[in-house]
Symmetry: C2
Subunit: 314 residues, 2 copies
């Protein structure tokens, strides 16, 4: 029997961001019931690289068969254009391989789609202005996902690297069919934004708490460690609504996490439970909500499984 392999072309052709967001929302509802099992990721350090494995299983439903699988990436090759990640999907009933997704496209699609679920769940329904701090690869899929769940009339983007920022604005304006304004400073970008997406690699805060107006939703995609964080501790302290997608991953961070061992860590609720209506998310328009994006394990498997179902076996 031929093994089914999907590449970046398949990922890009077979699934829109809106569809990916739907698959992720379904996965979060499964996570809330315990049907999606999503432990922390594990790293195997090797002399010439470091393989990181993130694994999960999803129980069978009326519509879908049960799946178990993982994603792997090598942290030593993040800078390589030729690097491949791999997502493998096995059937839970007999352990047979359903297929493999190879390349670089699935990871950002999934992280973006998770961001879309978070914005859809946590941002005000009337959110109209979006700010992006950081304009790398993650920012692109976060932006597309944000535009899939809210109708923005204003988008501003800031990056420390002017050239990257301008390329981002030019290329992404076309894609989201709205002129993205380059911001001269982070403050200019985030002040008066309803939704702020931070997806930098900055080790020090890229914005100040005072710049974030009441009612804003903030996504923390980049670093969130005590000694390495793109957001200030004070924003976690000020946010009334704190949510993460991956509680087990957060636990695994332990004392390294930005607000570990503070009352604020205990306030963080799982996105799945908010999506499922088990715990409240935003309860007032003037609250600041903050999404701590870690990457729920198993979501690569459910997304890859959905893709494999769409590409007919040959």
């Amino acid at each position: 029997m031929a093994v089914r392999i999907l590449t970046d072309d398949d990922v890009q052709q077979q699934m829109t961001m809106n569809e990916a967001i739907e698959v992720m929302a379904r996965s979060f509802r499964q996570h809330a019931t315990g049907a999606l099992v999503a432990p922390a990721r594990l790293a195997i350090p090797l002399d010439l690289g470091q393989l990181v494995f993130t694994a999960g299983s999803a129980a069978a439903t009326d519509q879908l068969p049960g799946r178990i699988g993982f994603r792997v990436y090598d942290t030593a090759h993040f800078g390589s254009d030729h690097r491949d990640e791999l997502v493998a999907v096995f059937d839970i009933a007999d352990g047979s391989l359903q297929g493999v997704v190879v390349g670089q496209a699935l990871g950002p699609l999934r992280t973006g789609a998770i961001g879309g679920v978070a914005i859809d769940t946590l941002a005000r329904a009337d959110a109209a202005s979006l700010a992006l701090v950081g304009t790398g690869g993650q920012a692109r899929t976060q932006l597309i996902a944000a535009c899939a769940v809210r109708r923005f009339t204003s988008i501003r983007a800031f990056s420390r690297t002017e050239a990257t920022r301008d390329t981002f604005c030019r290329e992404m304006s076309e894609l989201v069919e709205l002129e993205i304004q380059p911001a001269a400073t982070s403050r200019e970008a985030v002040e008066s934004a309803d939704v702020v997406i931070c997806s930098t690699v900055s080790q020090t805060p890229v914005l100040e708490r005072e710049w974030i107006a009441p009612g804003t939703h903030v996504q923390n995609v980049g670093p969130k460690f005590r000694d390495d964080s793109e957001l200030p501790v004070s924003l976690y302290e000020q946010a009334e609504v704190l949510v993460t997608d991956a509680p087990a991953q957060l636990d695994d961070y332990g004392t390294r996490f930005l607000v570990a061992n503070t009352p604020h860590a205990g306030r963080i609720v799982p996105l799945g439970e908010v999506v499922a209506g088990k715990v409240p998310g935003r309860t007032a328009d003037d609250q600041i909500s903050l999404f701590c994006s870690l990457g729920l394990a198993g979501t690569e498997v459910t997304l890859a499984d959905e893709l494999l179902r769409r590409v007919p076996a040959t």
Copy 2:
């Protein structure tokens, strides 16, 4: 670019056991120099299964490019005929996927070939009689590997399950072109054997120390834990030569290992160092040697890489 996938058919058609033993011997020489990095395996327990990852990297040589990769298997599906394992091979220079081997054939070929290297390195050169205790899947590849490195004139096999034993003897006699004698008891099989291969799932010793004659080489493929061991502690105590393929895996077993916290644990030397001539193996014909087979990480990657080189890209 098409991703290269090998299946069980490719594994069986592209490589003989002798060739696999050569690849494994090369890997052990690399392990002895530190060029093959082989940490302990990691398990990710999930509700509906448990994925085990064994990863390794091999530095580039004059002849071969550097590789990094892993094997994964789900311990919940060992009983399934349809279960697939997966071995992925990435290039160390740019992180690109070189190919994937999917199915069930590579694992036993590799474990058998490692056993072949161990017998070739540790058994007496004139070893003529072979005993097998346990006649499952591992016994088959261990037998083929043993016959690849020594000229046996007598082979006896014992299994607690008579039907399994007889099927094994019938099927494998043809394969190795020597009549394998079914033994009525374990003692009958191992007494006076020059090489003894234990590959059972027994939680209690399947043989007694007194049955093992001076000069015998024993392979411990099955359980080797304090509370779950196919061999008696006394055999580890009596063996003058103690060797393992995977020192990091043995370290990871910690106090669970059969002779942990005894002077005998400290006597165990790495097979790679014996193969490379860095430490002695057998130094006298009347010594008992014991090979503690754990599965050196990274060897699935080097074996898969060799297979991928043999199957032309289409």
